[in-house]
């Protein structure tokens, strides 16, 4: 497994790890920042500042994450394109489309949305009517408080004027001071009135209807401030209501001697008025706070909007890239697989998990690859077997070639179109043909001369259902007659289609000559024997006549007649035999004429009708064999000789048939009997002169038949008739 495969395998896990680390980093950073700011920032401001910074930090992390995701993918695409990885262009288009579709609308939405937000916030704070109402309300409230304070300051100053000459230091005067203060309290509608000698309390009265339970404490700071500034004002709380009690203080002018008196008055505002004033002021403050925090608010809204936009962008980019990867990774893997497989690596499998149509495609691809691999293995096995078979065939061919080259018989093979496949040396030698490049050439073209073309004719004959035929042929080669036996076999493949023919040629010239020599020796021996046989009775008759003559007996005449008769008979026998041989020797060459075969056969058969009871003799003349060019007399003799033998060999009930047909331009004559057949040992010598299985006669009948047929350039064969008998087949050329 190479690095790329490992990377691809663990890429998903790495992505989760990187994502997890990013999230962890983000939260750790957020926690760190929050802790830092909560410690360092003013506590009242923490929330606002942390919110802005937290939002900005989240946005920053999101921006960096999006940039990381996009740049990482762009970088990967650039690297893939640089290395010309298959599918990188397609992935570029897909990623660009997804990123474009996610980024552009998101950014446009953000720009448009932020402008809307900005305008909305501006319009919110630019609402002059609201601003005016709130500002005016605040001004009225402030003015009201100021007027109350001014009024009370004036009242306080009047009280101070009233009691200025009172001798506070004497206790006896205190009740009178108290009454005067009570009167002034009632007169000026005050709720609280007190006199201080600088910071020391002298006396104070309280309006029991005011709701105050204790004398309010103006505080030292107020008194000091009054001494310093001549007057002072404070707003204090009453019963928890902030700002309900208006405290005013006025001090005596500076004196050269003695302490200065300070009059402090208090007025409790109507609760409803106080509340309205407070709410107006607080409303104004709230509005002002919003105005002052407009920038922060706008920033917070924009940051929130930006955060949402970035989250959407991140999600859409991630989903887009994920979808792109879901599409491109299988396609890239398939392209890579195709490349690897076209390079011969059939072990390669696309290892991509997908549960959609691409998954089906990947599965089909892997199945196809597996099938290819199996087929390749089968082909390789077959190839090995083929190579081995070829090797065997080559060896066998070499053996066959060697055998063919060394075999005495000539072997010629042709394909189904007649082109020479093989021709061994014996064939070339027999047929006296030079060692030319014969293989592949048409046999008819090679052997176009009249003599050798006879062999071509034999080769092209219809071999019938058996696919075999045999024929003898005499060729005049180099001025010398040669006799060949040609055996033709049809080559067929396993389906039975004809693939060509093989012809085995044997030169029978020497054999025939030897057989003829042997036959003539046998004939001479038989002739001598035949001549010797009559000589003995002639000699005995002559010696008997001589003896009788010397004895002079009465029966001399009788013996003479008897002896002369024997001598005459034997001489006649010898003469017949000599005449027979003489006729065989003097047999004329055939004189071919147009012969009516039907007539010839019928005339011949008529000689044998009823000759042997129980033996049927009949003829079959093919419709295409009505006429033939041959020597009619000689051929009639052939038929008679063969019919003689057939009828003699056939015991009743039996049948002898003569059939004549034309086949492939040749005349085929068959004489079939159902007789006892010919012994195998006799078949080789059947046509030899003076050979006979009958033990009588001259034994020249079949020799004559053979000679006539040969002189008609034909052939004759004897073979067994099934189930019983013999068939003599004569083939005569008719062209």
């Amino acid at each position: 497994m190479d690095l790329r495969d490992r990377f691809s395998r663990h890429r998903k896990d790495n992505r989760w790890i990187v994502g997890g680390l990013a999230v962890l980093l983000f939260f750790l950073s957020l926690i760190y920042y929050t802790i830092q700011n909560s410690r360092d920032l003013p506590s009242d401001l923490v929330t606002n500042r942390v919110l802005l910074f937290a939002l900005w930090y989240i946005n920053l992390v999101l921006i960096l994450t999006i940039l990381f995701v996009l740049l990482r993918n762009v970088f990967k695409i650039l690297v893939e394109r640089h290395h010309k990885i298959l599918g990188s262009k397609f992935r570029t288009k897909l990623v660009a489309t997804f990123i474009g579709l996610s980024l552009l609308p998101g950014l446009l939405l953000f720009v448009y949305g932020s402008r809307l937000l900005h305008g909305w916030i501006d319009r919110w704070f630019d609402d002059s009517a609201v601003s005016s109402v709130i500002t005016q309300g605040n001004a009225v409230s402030q003015e009201l408080i100021l007027q109350i304070q001014q009024t009370r300051l004036r009242d306080t100053a009047r009280v101070l004027e009233q009691i200025r000459n009172a001798d506070f230091e004497r206790p006896a005067r205190r009740p009178q001071l108290g009454r005067r203060l009570q009167r002034l309290l009632n007169e000026l509608d005050l709720d609280y009135l007190a006199v201080f000698e600088e910071t020391d309390f002298v006396h104070g009265v309280l309006n029991p209807q005011s709701g105050l339970t204790d004398l309010p404490e103006p505080g030292e700071r107020l008194l000091v401030e009054t001494l310093l500034d001549g007057q002072a004002v404070r707003m204090q709380s009453v019963g928890g209501d902030e700002g309900r009690l208006v405290i005013t203080a006025v001090a005596e002018p500076h004196k050269t001697e003695g302490s200065r008196a300070i009059v402090v008055t208090g007025t409790v505002l109507d609760p409803e008025v106080a509340t309205q004033i407070r709410e107006l002021i607080q409303a104004y403050q709230g509005y002002r706070q919003l105005e002052l925090r407009k920038g922060d608010i706008e920033a917070a809204y924009l940051l929130t909007f930006l955060m949402v936009t970035l989250l959407v962008l991140l999600a859409s980019s991630w989903v887009g890239l994920y979808l792109a990867r879901r599409v491109t990774v299988p396609i890239q893997a398939l392209a890579e697989g195709t490349k690897r497989i076209s390079g011969g690596d059939l072990d390669y499998r696309v290892d991509v998990e997908a549960d959609d149509e691409l998954g089906v495609l990947v599965e089909s691809f892997n199945s196809m690859t597996g099938e290819l691999q199996r087929n390749k293995e089968l082909i390789e096995e077959s190839n090995l077997e083929l190579v081995a078979a070829n090797k065997r065939l080559a060896e066998e061919r070499a053996v066959i070639g060697a055998v063919l080259q060394n075999v005495a018989a000539g072997v010629i093979s042709v394909d189904d179109e007649g082109r020479i496949l093989t021709c061994n040396g014996a064939a070339l030698s027999m047929l006296r043909f030079g060692e030319e490049a014969l293989v592949g050439r048409p046999l008819r073209e090679v052997w176009s001369d009249p003599e050798r073309s006879k062999l071509v004719e034999i080769l092209e004959r219809d071999a019938g259902r058996s696919g075999r035929l045999m024929s003898d042929v005499r060729l005049l080669l180099g001025g010398e007659w040669k006799v060949f036996e040609a055996k033709v076999s049809t080559m067929r493949d396993r389906q039975g289609n004809v693939r060509g023919r093989v012809m085995v040629v044997e030169d029978l010239t020497e054999l025939i000559n030897a057989q003829q020599r042997a036959a003539w020796s046998e004939a001479a021996r038989r002739i001598a024997h035949e001549i010797k046989n009559p000589l003995t009775p002639i000699k005995l008759s002559a010696e008997r006549l001589l003896k009788k003559y010397r004895q002079g007996g009465d029966d001399l005449g009788e013996v003479l007649e008897e002896g002369v008769e024997i001598i005459t008979r034997e001489v006649h026998s010898m003469k017949s035999m000599v005449d027979e041989f003489s006729r065989f020797a003097r047999m004329p060459r055939p004189q071919p004429t147009e012969v009516d075969l039907r007539q010839m056969v019928e005339e011949t058969l008529s000689l044998y009708q009823g000759l042997k009871p129980g033996v049927e003799v009949k003829g079959q003349i093919g419709s295409n064999a009505m006429k033939a060019r041959l020597d009619g007399e000689q051929m009639k003799r052939v038929l008679i000789n063969l019919l003689d033998n057939a009828i003699e060999a056939t015991e009743p009930p039996g049948k002898v048939t003569v059939s004549v047909h034309k086949l492939n331009g040749r005349l085929k004559i068959e004489i079939t009997d159902s007789g006892k057949g010919i012994p195998a040992r006799a078949k080789d010598k059947l046509f030899f002169p003076h050979f006979s299985t009958k033990g009588r006669g001259t034994g020249l009948g079949l020799s004559i038949v053979h000679r006539i047929v040969s002189e008609h350039h034909g052939t004759i064969r004897a073979h067994d008739n099934k189930p019983q008998g013999t068939i003599f087949t004569i083939h005569l050329p008719q062209e």
Binding site: R39, D40, L41, P42, S43, D44, L45, R49, L52, F53, W56, H118, R234, M235, Q236, E242, G243, I277, R278, I281, Q282, Y284, Q285, G286, R288, Q289, E291, L292, R293, G295, D296, E298, A299, L302, L303, L306
Partner: protein
């Protein structure tokens, strides 16, 4: 040519964002005094109390400064000279009904003082001027060491380009070097 073309833009940007040092908020007169082993600091924040800040306070927002202090050894060749650090938050909040400013002083988050003032000048003064502010104890510090105090003020935050928040700080200022023995 490109450099010359970029020069006006650079100057314009500097003019836009830059400002003279004198107008920038800064700490001045950082003085150190030792009361036995206690370090007391006096300083003034100049140009820190702006109209904008006052306006925010006036509107009822709690706002102010945070002063950061660091006690360090005077060793220029060493990277970590800090002995101790502390911060002082000064946050003012205006009560519009009573027309008073409540100013809280928190050292390291702990409230150390609260003051109520009624005038802006006084408010500015107590928020920006400090005299003999006790900050550090030197009981555990080697008396032979030369020490120094560094201080800066955190003036809050602002937003750049409408949405980027940034903190606004003065530069760090450094006091004179001092030794415990020498005082």
């Amino acid at each position: 040519m490109g450099l010359l073309a970029a020069l006006p833009a650079t100057v314009a940007l500097f003019g836009l964002f830059g400002s003279p040092d004198a107008d920038k908020p800064h700490l001045s007169d950082l003085q150190v005094a030792l009361q036995e082993y206690r370090v007391e600091v006096s300083f003034e924040l100049v140009n820190g109390f702006t109209d904008e800040l006052f306006e925010r306070i006036q509107a009822g927002l709690a706002d102010g400064f945070r002063y950061d202090f660091a006690l360090s050894r005077d060793r220029k060749t060493w990277f970590d000279n800090r002995i101790d650090s502390t911060s002082l938050e000064v946050v003012a909040k205006f009560n519009a009904v009573t027309q008073e400013y409540l100013v809280n002083f928190r050292q390291d988050g702990k409230l150390v003082e609260s003051r109520v003032v009624r005038e802006r000048d006084e408010l500015e003064r107590i928020m920006t001027r400090f005299s003999r502010l006790p900050l550090f104890s030197l009981e555990d510090v080697n008396p032979d060491r030369r020490l120094t105090i560094k201080a800066r003020a955190d003036l809050g935050s602002k937003t750049v380009l409408l949405l980027i928040p940034t903190t606004v700080n003065t530069d760090w200022v450094q006091s004179r070097k001092f030794r415990i023995d020498s005082e």
